[in-house]
C-alpha cells in the first residue's frame, strides 16, 4: 500500500473516531494529503516499502510539545490559545526526516494525570465492548490516535509513565528512552528532572524508526546528553541473536495485581524463555518507596516550573482586576486557568519545598531516588555508564527486567470518575521506578491467552508488558521488545 493510501485511511479515521477526542487541534486535511503526495512523488523508491522510516508518514504530536503551525495548549485553560513561535527540536527533527504532523493530541493538563480525565478540552478515551474506558494518561490522546489508526506514530512525553501507561491501556507500543537522549527544547516542562519525550506506535519498528530520527545531542537543551557521554554508551543492541538474562522483579508482584495481567506476565516470560533467554528472579526493595518519592519530586518541580504562568507575556488571562487585597497578583488568572489537579500538585509541591518541610520531604525524596537507582545498578550486568563507583553485582546480573506496565487493564471510566485523586496515583507504581532512575523502558501489548485472533473483540484483555534496561541500553530494550511483540502477536 502506498504512502498516500495509508495517509488517506488515517485522515478518514480522524473523522470516524472524532468522538474519542484524541486530538485538540488537527492540521488541514487537504494540505496534509498534498504534502504526502509530494513526498511520495519526490522519492518513489521509499514509497510503500519502509516500515521504520517516518518519511511521508503522519505523526501526531502531544499538545505539550511546541509546533509553529498549530497551537500548543498543554490541555490547560491558561494556554488554550497559545501559538508557539517555533517548533520543538523533536518536531523539527521529524520534519527534517520527512514526517508530516497531522495534529496535536489530548493529554492530562501539563502531563499531570493517569487517565486523561484532567484536560481543559474534555477527556480522551477508549471504547471497548461498548464501554468507555480510560485511555491512560497523560499521553492518552497520542495512544488513542495510534490505536485507532489516526496516524502512523505519535510523540508523547513520559515523566512517571505517561507514555507507557496509555500504551498498556490501548494495546499500543510505548517507549520512554533513557533520560537525556531526546531533546526537551520546546517541550513544556512538568518535572524537568524526569520529563522525557517518548514514542507511541502500532509496532516496535515504527517506534524505533522515530527514535532513530530523534536520538541526537541538542545544544539548546542543557539536559541533553553531551556527545562525549553518548560516545560511551553501547551502540548496538542484541540484534535478537544473543541470549539474554531476563530479571523478574518480585517487588512488582503486588497484592492488587490483576489476575489477567499476572497471566500475561507469565505468558511473556514463557515466550521469551522459549526463544532461548533465561529467567532470574530479582529483588528491587526500593520499589516500595519509589511512588512516594515520585509524588514528592514531581509536584515540587511542577510548582516551580508552573510559577511562570501569569498570562502576561503569553497565555490567557482572567477577566477584570487581578490582584486585590485578599488575593495575591495573578492568583485569579492562575485559579481560573489551571484545572483542579494541577492546583493540587502545585500546592503539594509548595509544601514540600517550604522551609519547614524541604529536608524531610524534597531532599529525602531525592535520597530515596538515589536508592532506586542503586537498586537497578545492583541487578544489571552492565554497569551504569553515568556512575563511577559501581556496586559489586553479586555473581552476574541480568540484562533486562520484565514486568507489567500497569497493575490492571484499562479501567472503565464509570469506575474511576468519582475516585479520590490518590487512587489514580497508584496506577504509576510500575512505571515510576524507571523514570526516577532515567532508564529506558518500553511497554509491549501481550494477551494473557494464546491464539487470540487480532480481530476479535477480546481486545480488552491485552496487558502492557514493560521491558526495562540499564541506562543507555535503549537498543537492547528495543530488540527484546521486537522479539516479545513478534512472539505475542496472533498469527495471521
Amino acid at each position: 500500500m502506498s504512502l498516500l493510501r495509508h495517509a488517506e485511511r488515517q485522515i478518514a479515521n480522524l473523522g470516524k473516531y472524532s468522538h474519542l477526542n484524541a486530538f485538540i487541534n488537527v492540521a488541514d486535511h487537504e494540505s496534509v494529503l498534498a504534502r504526502v503526495a509530494a513526498s511520495a512523488e519526490s522519492s518513489p523508491s521509499t514509497d510503500n516499502v519502509n516500515a521504520r522510516s517516518p518519511f511521508g508518514r503522519l505523526i501526531a504530536i502531544k499538545d505539550n510539545i511546541c509546533t509553529a503551525d498549530l497551537p500548543t495548549t498543554a490541555a490547560s485553560g491558561i494556554l488554550k490559545l497559545l501559538k508557539s513561535p517555533y517548533d520543538a527540536t523533536v518536531v523539527k527533527q521529524l520534519r527534517e526526516a520527512g514526517a508530516i504532523t497531522v495534529g496535536k493530541t489530548n493529554l492530562d493538563e501539563f502531563g499531570m494525570g493517569s487517565h486523561n480525565l484532567h484536560s481543559h478540552f474534555g477527556a480522551s478515551k477508549l471504547v471497548r465492548g461498548g464501554e468507555e474506558r480510560s485511555a491512560g494518561g497523560s499521553s492518552g490522546g497520542s495512544a488513542v490516535a495510534v490505536a485507532t489508526g489516526q496516524c502512523w506514530a505519535a510523540l508523547g512525553t513520559d515523566t512517571g509513565g505517561s507514555v507507557r501507561l496509555p500504551a498498556a491501556y490501548t494495546r499500543t507500543v510505548g517507549f520512554k528512552p533513557s533520560y537525556g537522549l531526546l531533546s526537551r527544547w520546546g517541550v513544556i516542562a512538568y518535572a524537568n528532572s524526569l520529563d522525557t519525550v517518548g514514542i507511541l506506535g502500532q509496532n516496535v519498528e515504527s517506534v524505533e524508526g522515530v527514535f532513530d530520527s530523534l536520538d541526537f545531542y541538542d545544544p539548546q537543551d542543557p539536559t541533553s546528553l553531551p556527545p562525549s557521554t553518548r560516545s560511551r554508551l553501547p551502540k548496538q543492541g542484541s540484534g535478537g541473536a544473543k541470549t539474554l538474562k531476563i530479571g523478574v522483579p518480585m517487588d512488582y508482584n503486588i497484592s492488587t495485581l490483576d489476575a489477567t495481567v499476572r497471566k500475561a506476565w507469565l505468558r511473556s516470560l514463557q515466550l521469551l524463555q522459549a526463544r532461548g533467554h533465561t529467567l532470574h528472579t530479582v529483588r528491587l526493595p526500593a520499589t516500595q518507596h519509589a511512588l512516594s518519592a515520585y509524588y514528592v519530586l514531581a509536584p515540587a518541580e511542577a510548582s516551580s516550573n508552573l510559577a511562570k504562568y501569569d498570562g502576561i507575556r503569553y497565555g490567557s488571562r482572567a477577566e477584570g482586576k487581578d490582584g486585590i487585597p485578599d488575593s495575591v497578583l495573578f492568583a485569579k488568572t492562575r485559579g481560573e486557568g489551571f484545572g483542579p489537579e494541577v492546583q493540587r500538585r502545585i500546592l503539594l509541591g509548595a509544601f514540600s519545598l517550604s522551609a519547614q518541610a524541604i529536608d524531610n520531604y524534597f531532599i529525602q525524596a531525592q535520597k530515596v531516588r538515589r536508592l532506586v537507582q542503586q537498586d537497578f545498578d545492583n541487578v544489571f550486568a552492565t554497569p551504569n555508564p553515568l556512575m563511577t563507583s559501581q556496586p559489586e553485582v553479586d555473581g552476574e546480573g541480568v540484562d533486562v527486567l520484565l514486568c507489567p506496565t500497569a497493575p490492571t487493564l484499562a479501567p472503565k471510566l464509570s469506575e474511576i470518575k468519582g475516585q479520590q485523586p490518590l487512587h489514580a496515583y497508584m496506577n504509576d507504581v510500575f512505571t515510576v521506578p524507571a523514570s526516577l532512575a532515567g532508564l529506558p523502558a518500553i511497554s509491549v501489548p501481550v494477551h494473557a491467552d494464546e491464539g487470540v485472533k487480532a480481530a476479535t473483540e477480546e481486545a480488552s484483555a491485552w496487558s502492557g508488558m514493560q521491558i526495562i534496561g540499564q541506562y543507555g541500553d535503549d537498543r537492547v530494550v528495543l530488540d527484546l521488545a521486537k522479539e516479545l511483540f513478534e512472539s505475542a502477536s496472533p498469527g495471521p
Binding site: 553531551p226 529467567l279 526493595p285 509548595a350 529525602q364 553515568l386 497508584m426
Partner: protein, 215 residues
Amino acid sequence: MALRRASVYARCMSRRLQCAAAPLHTSTIPALSISAISTQDNATSVSKKPMSLQDIEALLNSEPTWSVESLLPPEKNLNGDTSDVPRVSAKQLHHLLRLSALPPPKSQEQEAKMLSTLSDQLHFVGRMQQVDTSGVKPLRAIRDETAAAEQEQTITLETLKDALSKERVIGKHYKRIQRDTTAVDASNVETWDVLGSAERKQGKYFVVESERPQE
C-alpha cells in the same frame, strides 16, 4: 569575577563528589537494607541459576511482596481526622496558596476539602520518610557523574580561550581590560516580537489591572 566563581564552583563540586563517594561505597549494604520496614529477607538479590517457569509461576502466584494500598491513608473517623497524618493548619494553607499565587478558598467547605486533600497526599508520600538514607547522596538530576565527565565539564582557561581572546589590556599606568566591542549579529533573536503573544497590551506595554493593597 563571574568566571572565577564558576571555576571555584566546579572545583567544589568535584571535591564534594569525592567525599560523598567514600561513604556511599561502604554504605551499599545498609542503604539497601531498608528492609527494616519491608518484608523481604535478602535485599537486592539476583537468582544465580536460571529459574524454571514453574518456579517463577509458583512464586508469583503465592504471596505478593507488598500492597500499594498500604500507602493510602486509613479510613477517616467521624471527625474527619486520621491519627498519623501530618497536620496542616488553615493558616499554613493560606500561606502555601499565597506562595503558589493561587486564590484562597471560597468557602469553609472548600477550605476543609483542600486541607483534607493535602493531608491525604502527605500521608501517601510520607512512606518514604521511614527509609534510612543516612550517607546517601541525593539524586538531583540524571546526568553523567563519572570522573571523565567531571573533567570535561570543568571550566578551564582553555574553555574560555575564545572569550578571553576578545579582551585586550589598555592603559599604561592604570591597566584595565576592555572588551571587544565589535557588534555581534543577533538579528535571529532580536527579531522576536516580545508583545506578539500577549493578550492585553497597550502600545509597547503589557497591561496588568490590579488594586493597590490597602495601607
